[in-house]
Symmetry: C2
Subunit: 340 residues, 2 copies
Amino acid sequence: MKKIKAVVYGAGATGLDIARELVRRGVEIVAAIDIEHVGEDLGELAGLNRRLNVEISDDADETLQETRADVAIVSVASGLEEMHPHIKRCLEAGINVTTTSEETLYPWHTSPELAADLDRTAEMHGVSFMGAGYQDIFEVNLPVILTGASKELTGVHGVNRYNIDDYGPAVAHYFLAGEKKSEAEQKLSKGEGPQSFFRMTLEAQISALGLSEKEYSQETRPVVADQSVQSEAIGRTIEEGELLGLEIDVRIQTYEGVEFTGTEIAKVYDQEDGALNAWTIKGVPEMYVEDKPTPVKVGTATQIVNRLPDLINHQPGFVSVTELPLPRYRVGPLQLYVNG
Amino acid sequence: MKKIKAVVYGAGATGLDIARELVRRGVEIVAAIDIEHVGEDLGELAGLNRRLNVEISDDADETLQETRADVAIVSVASGLEEMHPHIKRCLEAGINVTTTSEETLYPWHTSPELAADLDRTAEMHGVSFMGAGYQDIFEVNLPVILTGASKELTGVHGVNRYNIDDYGPAVAHYFLAGEKKSEAEQKLSKGEGPQSFFRMTLEAQISALGLSEKEYSQETRPVVADQSVQSEAIGRTIEEGELLGLEIDVRIQTYEGVEFTGTEIAKVYDQEDGALNAWTIKGVPEMYVEDKPTPVKVGTATQIVNRLPDLINHQPGFVSVTELPLPRYRVGPLQLYVNG
């Protein structure tokens, strides 16, 4: 057995959550990359009250070439277009990649060329990459395994509500938090609203079930504050009449006739909210499962880190979270089996 | 691709449920074995309103030698001691075995010698066997995958209530349904009550998580009818003062300090009941998941049948349900990939 060596690539809210979990689980952090906080020690930046002797660097290429890491955890953006160069340079350095980037979970419909390019690059360099995190267990594996008890499957429907204030400014702005209602509505009416993250969740399910997407549609509604709400992610108070976030209905028809639908509620919480993750498996029998409280924030870093050994051991190329062994808790420090 | 050929071994309530599902999913039933209904056609016995040209035979050895089946589904008992000769003769005939026998799910603590004997026999004959059915997804895979989001895991707790009237006379009598309260209490006080099925469920989880059992204990309480209730399984009315079934608390300590507990409520339903399957994953974070309505009856046959391709393709020997690929719905008729 040997220690896992990891690069923390992106040291924002999510990256630092992951860094703390890596340290706690005995993973050796060998480098950290970000365009901010350059020269600071990752341990101090992560609030560990001790130095990790890992200095934040903004020279990604040099840093990746110098380290001999098993895996890089890349937390810089949600969409694959922004993520692509960051993932690619890790793969080219022979380093496996995992990320909480929502689109990377299953990017074959939204960004097929970029996905194929990364898949080829990973295969050429003998490493693998995947998008995981919160979606992995609660949104993909959980509903998929329940379909194993379906006598007839006609559809899958999910409802997911989460606090975008937990994910830093990039995610908050992505869902238009803080924008004026009239401006947001204009954007949405012109089709300039964001892609729902639920699309990739449902597409990962569809792929796991061996089905084929025929048609995708989404409908987006603004969620407007009716009182002022403090937002940590955007660094100010969201006033009455400004957006807390969005509510997005997603619908995917498959050629096989099974319909995948969902409602994603991505907003800065006002007082009555709570996290929700609920799935209905339609057909015979109809099944309903709900987990509460949904531990979105703690779940993200934990799931990413628990998956590292399986990802590192997986065959090269793009990996979907349903292709790995069963997600499960691992007792003690995370380690890798070494052959020979 | 080729059709799966199956033997229906045991044509009671569960066996006939499975037979109907096999027919519906395009599995070819090549033989049927039971000590009752000998000479009857399985299709007519299963209420399919047509002949399957499969005659019930009570000569298991001859029947198994004559068929070239991929798999036998054995539904004759819950405990491995009774199941052992039936499973063994299938394995010796080179036929994979699956069963809803609860103990077979994970028999390494309750019947280690019998389990090891079957494991060796299966390996010698190049086939595999497993216990599956309802426990597979709802009681083992579902809680296990949630632990993949555990930052710290201190325990797993489950509550499961089901109607033993759905499972035929063997299961009903196993849980003392219809016995007089005083007689049942005497039995229980002498330690002659039944083994909880939940023990194997928790032991399958423990194995999947790489933990080791230190100590097992169970506490059994009779559930007494306070009004008369008609029972199909025992073929008469259960009168006030007689047992509807049992409620069993199970507790397993592991050497790693994670505690597995559960309450199994196995009874003939009186009016207020409903099926329940709920799991708490203890530690950080604490997670709770509940699926309702729990489709125990339809779920059992469906899950067993959905698993056939994975079981048949698995490497020889005993298989635990967490070792197979992710349980999932399969579109269309079930078939097997054929190499070469």
